[in-house]
Amino acid sequence: MSAMLNASGIIKNFPGVQALRNVSIEVRPNEVVGLIGENGAGKSTLMRVLAGSYRPDGGSLTLDGEQLRMRSPRDAARHGIGMVFQEQSLVLNLTVAENIYLGEEDRFTRFGLVNWRAMNAAARRQLAKIGIDIDVTARTSELTFAARQMVELAKALTLEEVVERQLLILLDEPTSVLNAADIEVLFARVRSLKSRASFVFVSHRLDEVLAISDRVYTMKDGAVVAKHRAAEVTAPELHEIMVGRGLQAEYYREARQLAPRDTVMVEAKGLGANGAYHGVDLNIRAGEIVGIAGVVGSGREEVTRTIGGFLQHDAGEMKIAGDMVRFASPEPAVRKGIGYVPRERRLEGLVMFLSIAENISLADLSSVMRHGAIDYGKERRLAADWIKRLRIKAPGPDAACRKLSGGNQQKVVLARWMTAGSRILVLDHPTRGLDVGAKEEVYELVRDLSAQGVAILLISDTLEETIGLSHQVLVMRDGEITARFDASPGKKPNQVDLLRAMV
């Protein structure tokens, strides 16, 4: 069968990262193509290129043999390409119908007035076609996530009312916010719609991808590393390809994993917080790295946020270096020597407009104060010292943090906590969005910190990273710890065991 959409040799660069290197995929008519890969493998970037929101730096796109040049999502829509976004893209203060036809009101407008009744009727028909029963006059904010996802799908499918050719619908991790029953509903819709459209389906849940796709592309580090017919491959095989790396132990610097010291830095007993998690027992010793594995909603994010001071626990007790604590905000946590390295560096990690020097001294200005005033020379020397020690690639201490690459920004965050004398670090997806080289540097740094006796709590995008870095891995599911694994060098648990406890 000939391809409907053909992407060949797509290249996309971001400052400091090559997100797509020479990626080629094709989508045939009436087909569901699965796209898998770890976070940062380039799946979302590729989807955005296909959807017209990113313009590729190289390569070509053809649709039914015609060259495609798309400058905006609107252009893509004109060619029958619609996208259902990972972070939902509905305007919450509008009704369902208004969202479905947002930007398309002209079709219901006469003499300058919009005929809402006709729009509502059309929206109702559209939802009926995919077999969904939702009140089209309801405010979108009142719908469940699952219902919103269906509305997004319906919105993407309205393209068929205006575009002659078969549609291509891009589904970017549509299942990440859905429960099992809702996922079944979504899949049933996708299957029944295959006669009218092709789909590209992105997910990090391999079994899902295999269940819904005809063919599967596997991406890694910005490139397609394999393609399979879904019937001819199993989830473990795909997993192997997706994460498989020669010399894993070396990658995670396992040789540098030292036995933790005796001092217990974090001790939690029966910890719980308003339904997010409960009965969590946790010990982290100086120099120890404890990883928590679990799916979205398992409660592991909330546990880390509790220790960072962003979420107050309401059951059990927590001791930091022997002192009973209950943090109402991050500030007392910082004073207790806890440093939080967030996944959203841009939102939570760094003040992007400030310089490296200013960011490093932010958590402990007293370290650069003299006679009650900030000593700029001292601040710059401190930053210059960190730039050298952590091999931060930057023009100098005065460089603005927003100009650094992700990996170097992450190093600045770590330097700040080291300056503030943090003895405990919470690493919340520390390598998200970093390329391979930058990841290795972060791993190196994490080993350094651990060797210096810093206690580390880690949650990460991949099991492999969690296992590779940690001394001890806890698995959480539905707010509880379901398994504990020793992860000393040479005795690392395997991913299948972890997965069993996760789902």
């Binding site: 976004f85 893209s89 002209d106 007035l113 005929n115």
Partner: protein
């Protein structure tokens, strides 16, 4: 087509008490003032009330669209004084020989619209926040009109324009009917046109609106021009009511308009509320001012009360817990 009364019912019949609160405040306020001073509900006072609501209502209609979008328009007083200056100088007046009659009114409204259009261009093309763009336009407009009036008060002698304030139709001054017409126009735009919906979408989530194919730049410019149109009409009404234009014709109008919009329940963050809310807001502000005069409260205390009211309104209407950062 859901008609405006249906929309009003939707706004005030909503599940959330917050949307009902402004109406409740208005009713309670009226009852309390009427008890304290029965003169409040005399026909003569009610007409006076409607008359003093005319200009704020027309202004606030324009401002509502801007605030719904999540922006702000500070040029209210500047645009209003430009419009008032244009109408006075082009119609029969005591400073020059012009006598263009109703063409002066048209010119004044066009001038107001043009001011708004420029604000929109500055905001979108130069990418300057609306706060700064319209702050600048405020002073440009104010300076321009005071210069053209040579710093003095110039009388409006055109009888037919003066009739906007002096002539009565069904017992109410024509200006009140004009303001009511402005309200209807604004309601139709908000509830029945694409522009109204796109303004709401931008206020709700500009990125998503853009992804959905809304031409955000065009909507923004149109919204500011629309606001300028309403400010222009207000300028004509203000000149007709005062029978003249002068340097301070706009004084205090910005505060009154913003208070009305906010007290009515339109969120400063955009996306929530609308012109029906603003109608209630204008009535609250006007009734309160009228009531305080009837009760003989000192004008300075009146001002203080208005300041308290605007803070209280924001405190009650805004879901502040949801705001990550308050700037």
């Amino acid at each position: 087509m859901t008609l405006i009364p249906g929309r009003i019912a939707a706004v005030f019949g909503g599940r959330r008490w917050r949307s009902l609160a402004p109406l409740a405040v208005l009713i309670v306020l009226c009852v309390l003032i009427a008890i304290a001073n029965p003169n409040f509900i005399e026909l003569r006072n009610l007409v006076r009330l409607a008359n003093s609501a005319a200009v704020p209502l027309t202004l606030a209609m324009g401002l509502t669209f801007i605030i719904l979008m999540g922006s702000i328009d500070l040029s209210v007083e500047g645009t209003l004084s430009v419009s008032a200056m244009v109408v006075v100088l082009l119609a029969a007046n005591d400073a020059n020989g012009n006598d263009y009659g109703w063409w002066a009114v048209v010119a004044a409204v066009v001038a107001g619209t043009a001011m708004g259009f420029v604000s929109g261009l500055i905001q979108t093309m130069l990418r300057i926040p609306s706060f700064m763009a319209t702050l600048g336009m405020w002073f440009i407009g104010l300076g321009l009109s005071v210069y053209m009036l040579s710093g003095s008060a110039i009388r409006l002698n055109d009888a037919s324009i003066r009739d906007l304030a002096l002539h009565r139709f069904l017992g109410l001054p024509v200006a009140v009917w004009v303001a009511f017409g402005a309200f209807l126009l604004a309601a139709i735009i908000q509830y029945h046109t694409k522009l109204g919906r796109h303004i709401l979408a931008i206020g709700g989530d500009e990125d998503v609106a853009k992804l959905s194919g809304v031409n955000v730049t065009r909507v923004r410019i149109t919204a500011f021009a629309l606001a300028g149109f309403f400010f222009g009409v207000s300028g004509v009404l203000a000149a007709a009511q005062l029978g003249q234009s002068h340097a301070v014709i706009g004084d205090g109008r910005l505060f009154a308009a913003v208070t009305a919009v906010v007290v009515g329940g339109t969120a400063l963050t955009g996306g929530e509320g609308g012109v029906v809310n603003t109608l209630i807001g204008v009535l609250i502000v006007t009734v309160l001012a009228n009531g305080m005069i009837l009760l003989g409260i000192s004008p300075y205390i009146q001002q203080t009360v208005q300041g308290l009211m605007i803070i209280a309104a924001v405190a009650l209407s805004l879901d502040r817990v949801r705001l990550r950062i308050v700037k």
